[in-house]
């Protein structure tokens, strides 16, 4: 049993930062200003033992094959806490007037963990491998715009260009390693000539440019990384990072309380509360643009009626339900986009008002004692649940509140993989509850644009929502050249979608990170928009630890 290190309360930076707007097009060059790593002396550097966030044990360490959110890699750009792009491996970039050609100027002082310098050839190699159909990369379509691939070219040793088939407001975010994108620059010299990427020796011995180097991995149990003292932003503040496996959150909390680990991202309200009340632990929070929302099947005999959908939103005390079922600090969403420059201030908000819900239903012809009816059709449907931890309580609460206004809602909770197939492939549901949102870029088009007939196996918009005005607005938003223009179209789309009451928006995903007081020097992301590949910290290299 490790004894708890001497408590050293660090200065915490909390709260979500306000999100401002900056121009996206034109010439941008931002200078990176960062303090040096907190601990300079080697004997002062401690180790960090943690339960990481999402995919802390990736299936392979090759970011071409899956999400690798460990601190091994960097992308070309990153995002600040206001979700503005800032330099990562590219120290500056230009975008041509027509929005088609992006020119990235790379830093010249970056080396891979094996000591080889990182150059333009590595960037082009990474992009080409992502696009290579033979490589089983799930990220290929990120670089396919309007059916055409983005063309990457090396200009000189430290300059690359990317030429787009048509303008795309979200392209820059796709050159970052952020959520949903994972563009991590790989060493060409180690992966060149690999026939089958899935069997590359690299996958078990990864080499990147990030703040920590790979040391060892015990499958699904323990990942050890050591400080990359040549990291381009400075020497990391801890000499070693260990990630441990906890299949359930209670065990992780127990380990935190016992001093076995220093950091864990927690979600379950009881565990968060206990962590807050434990001496020597503190909890950091930040919101995100992921919202747990109920989407209605738009061609359902009952739910196709806008009055019914509006009444559902009015009948549910969303705020108190979310606070009870999720956590007392959880926020409630009102729109597909809830935070940042892209969130519209003019959306229709459906406040809790059961009397209004009844009036709307009466007026629309849904009448009767008990469960309402209209033309012999009962006001009844089934909600299909994604097995998120709060989902059963959210649904149970909704069910009771809806019953009070004469709506019957049955509950069908599925296990995750079955849910994916039933909802997104078979479209076998009346209404479903699942996470909707985005990491960095407010690209909501695929979830709200009218489905093309017969596209793909899975649908992003399985509810068959279709509003021609929304289609126009979202299409214009995705090709807009400036952020102002994008904002205008995105706001319009949200206003239309909320007026349709096309969904019921419940909790916003709130990151809750429990930290031991032995940990300091970190910066929380403010919003999850820049979860980077950590899920927890914004600048993992700045963390310090007093654990020996």
């Amino acid at each position: 049993m490790l004894s708890k290190p001497v408590s050293r309360r660090s200065v915490l930076q909390g709260g979500a930062a306000a999100v401002g707007a900056t121009a996206l097009g034109g010439v941008t060059s931002v200078q990176l200003l960062k303090p040096q790593g907190a601990a300079a002396q080697d004997d002062e550097r401690g180790i960090l033992i943690m339960r990481g966030g999402v995919s802390q044990f990736p299936p392979t360490f090759n970011p071409l094959l899956n999400d690798v959110r460990v601190w091994l890699y960097d992308g070309l750009v990153r995002f600040d806490t206001d979700v503005n792009p800032i330099p990562d491996l590219a120290e500056s970039w230009e975008i041509s007037e027509d929005g088609l050609v992006y020119t990235f100027h790379l830093r010249q002082d970056v080396v891979f963990h094996d000591g080889t310098p990182m150059t333009a050839a590595d960037v082009v190699f990474t992009a080409e491998k992502t696009l290579d159909e033979g490589v089983k990369s799930p990220y290929r379509s990120k670089f396919i715009i309007d059916g055409q691939p983005v063309v990457w070219e090396q200009v000189d040793d430290f300059t690359v260009t990317a030429t787009l088939p048509q303008p795309s407001g979200s392209f820059l975010s796709k050159t970052s390693r952020a959520d949903e994108v994972f563009f991590c620059i790989l060493p060409k010299h180690l992966l060149e000539g690999v026939e089958d990427m899935t069997q590359a020796e690299f996958n078990q011995n990864p080499v990147g440019t990030g703040p920590f180097k790979f040391v060892s991995y015990e499958t699904d149990q323990q990942l050890v990384m050591e400080a990359n003292d040549d990291y381009y932003q400075g020497r990391p503040g801890v000499k070693e990072v260990v990630r441990l496996n906890f299949p359930n959150e209670q065990s992780a909390l127990a380990a935190l309380q016992a001093g076995d680990i220093d950091v864990a991202s927690l979600r379950e309200a009881g565990n968060v509360k206990t962590a807050e009340e434990t001496e020597g632990l503190s909890v950091q929070r930040y919101d995100s643009n992921w919202v747990f929302a109920g989407r209605f099947k738009m061609d359902h005999p009952v739910l196709s009626d806008q009055a019914v959908r509006a009444a559902i939103s009015h009948a549910v005390d969303r705020e108190n339900l979310v606070k009870a079922a999720v956590s007392p600090t959880a926020s409630t969403g009102n729109s597909p986009i809830n935070i940042g420059w892209a969130a519209s201030p003019d959306v229709t908000v459906y406040e809790y008002d059961p009397e209004k819900a009844k009036a709307i239903l009466d007026e629309a012809g849904w009448t009767g004692d008990g469960i309402r009816e209209k033309d012999g059709q009962r006001l009844s449907f089934t909600v299909t649940l994604y097995p998120d931890y709060a989902a059963p309580d959210l649904a149970a609460g909704m069910q009771q509140l809806l019953q009070l206004v004469g709506i019957e809602m049955n509950i069908n909770q599925l296990e995750a993989a079955s849910f994916e197939t039933e909802v997104y492939q078979n479209q076998n549901f009346d209404m479903y509850l699942d996470w909707q949102g985005f990491g960095v870029d407010p690209d909501i088009a695929s979830r709200w644009i009218t489905n093309d007939a017969g596209t793909g196996t899975y649908l992003d918009n399985p509810s068959n929502y279709s509003n021609p005005d929304v289609d126009v607005a979202l299409t214009a938003a995705s090709t807009a050249l400036t952020q102002d223009e994008r904002q205008q179209y995105l706001w319009e789309a949200q206003n239309l979608i909320t007026a349709d009451a096309a969904a019921i928006w419940l909790q916003l995903w709130e990151a809750q990170i429990a930290l031991d007081d032995a940990i300091g020097g970190y910066e929380t992301p403010g919003t999850t928009a820049d979860m980077d590949n950590t899920g927890i910290f914004r600048e993992p290299w700045m963390i310090t630890s007093t654990r020996g």
Binding site: M1, A254, S418
Partner: protein, 311 residues
């Protein structure tokens, strides 16, 4: 005997797994809350041969399995045999130690309870042992973790070893075994206690034991030399059956204690629909079950001459 059984088990497992809705590629390419693009999923499925007709996929698996190749994990792309070899020792050691412990304790308690039938000891131990099989093991585990690891800080909360233990490595590992072993062996205790108790009672009722005691032979010697030793004979069979449970028996306990074993690994594979891994785990578990049953049969034949002669 063994080979056809394994064949049918693999066929049943394959049929059941593939009847379950879900898509391994969609599961592992979608990270966290974001969903992978449908086109990417489709392309990777095609590449992995998951779109071929099911019989074709089964025969392909079988052909490889016969050569000792259980295929590659869809998720991590690593050989299934290698992954299982990594996970097997943790499960075997946890279950093995627990088996020995519950057997020893069970025989001890069962024998004394038989000798002192209807005594306070008999009732107390019966209740105690029955309670073990009546508590949901996850509930018991969580409460023990909370008490011994969180409140008292005596024992670790999970895993099989610490990162850089402060004391000797063996001590650290031993500490990690304590709670999961207690729960596993407590859950299994009742079977041994009851079996040994009734077997001992039967032995005590044998004519020659009664005669020996009537003749005035030292009571302890009789108990040990005649009754106790004979009562152990049927227990040997139970041991064989218990081996069958070595791999398959501890899903919940491994899950709660973050144990790096087969069961945890198999459960994860089920949720991710990692078909080759599920097939591998099922097959290896079956081999253990069949072996255990065979050992039980052989023991039974060995100790029971009637059966031996009749075969």
């Amino acid at each position: 005997m063994v080979i056809p059984t394994l064949f049918f088990v693999s066929l049943i497992s394959f049929a059941i797994i593939r009847a379950a809705p879900g898509d391994p590629v969609r599961m592992y390419t979608s990270s966290g809350m974001s969903k992978a693009d449908a086109e990417d999923v489709e392309r990777i499925r095609e590449n992995l041969g998951l779109n071929d007709p099911l019989p074709v996929q089964y025969v392909r698996w079988l052909e490889q399995a016969v050569q000792g190749n259980l295929g590659y994990s869809i998720v991590s792309h690593r050989p299934v045999t290698e992954l299982i070899a990594e996970k097997l020792p943790a499960s075997l050691s946890l279950m093995g130690i627990s088996l020995v412990l519950s057997m020893t304790l069970g025989i001890l308690i069962g024998s004394i309870a038989a000798v002192k039938r209807y005594s306070l000891f008999d009732y107390a131990t019966t209740i105690f042992a029955f309670l073990g099989s009546s508590l949901p093991s996850f509930w018991l585990s969580m409460i023990l973790i909370w008490f011994f690891a969180v409140r008292l800080g005596w024992l670790p909360t999970g895993q099989m070893h610490s990162f850089r233990p402060s004391g000797p490595v063996w001590l650290d590992t031993a500490k990690h075994f304590v709670l999961p072993v207690i729960v596993t062996s407590y859950v299994g205790l009742i079977v041994w206690v009851r079996y040994q108790r009734s077997s001992m009672i039967e032995a005590l009722n044998q004519d020659y034991v009664r005669t020996a005691r009537a003749k005035g032979l030292n009571s302890k010697a009789v108990l040990y030399r005649h009754a106790w030793r004979n009562s152990l004979v049927p227990i040997v069979t139970l041991f064989g059956f218990s081996i069958a449970n070595l791999v398959a028996g501890s899903y919940v306990i491994e899950y709660v204690f973050s144990w790096p074993g087969m069961a945890n690994f198999g459960f994860d594979a089920i949720l991710k629909r990692d078909y080759p891994v599920i097939m591998g785990v099922t097959l290896v578990s079956s081999i253990f079950i069949i072996t255990g049953n065979l050992i039980a049969d052989i023991c039974y034949m060995f100790i029971n001459p009637q059966i031996r002669n009749s075969r």
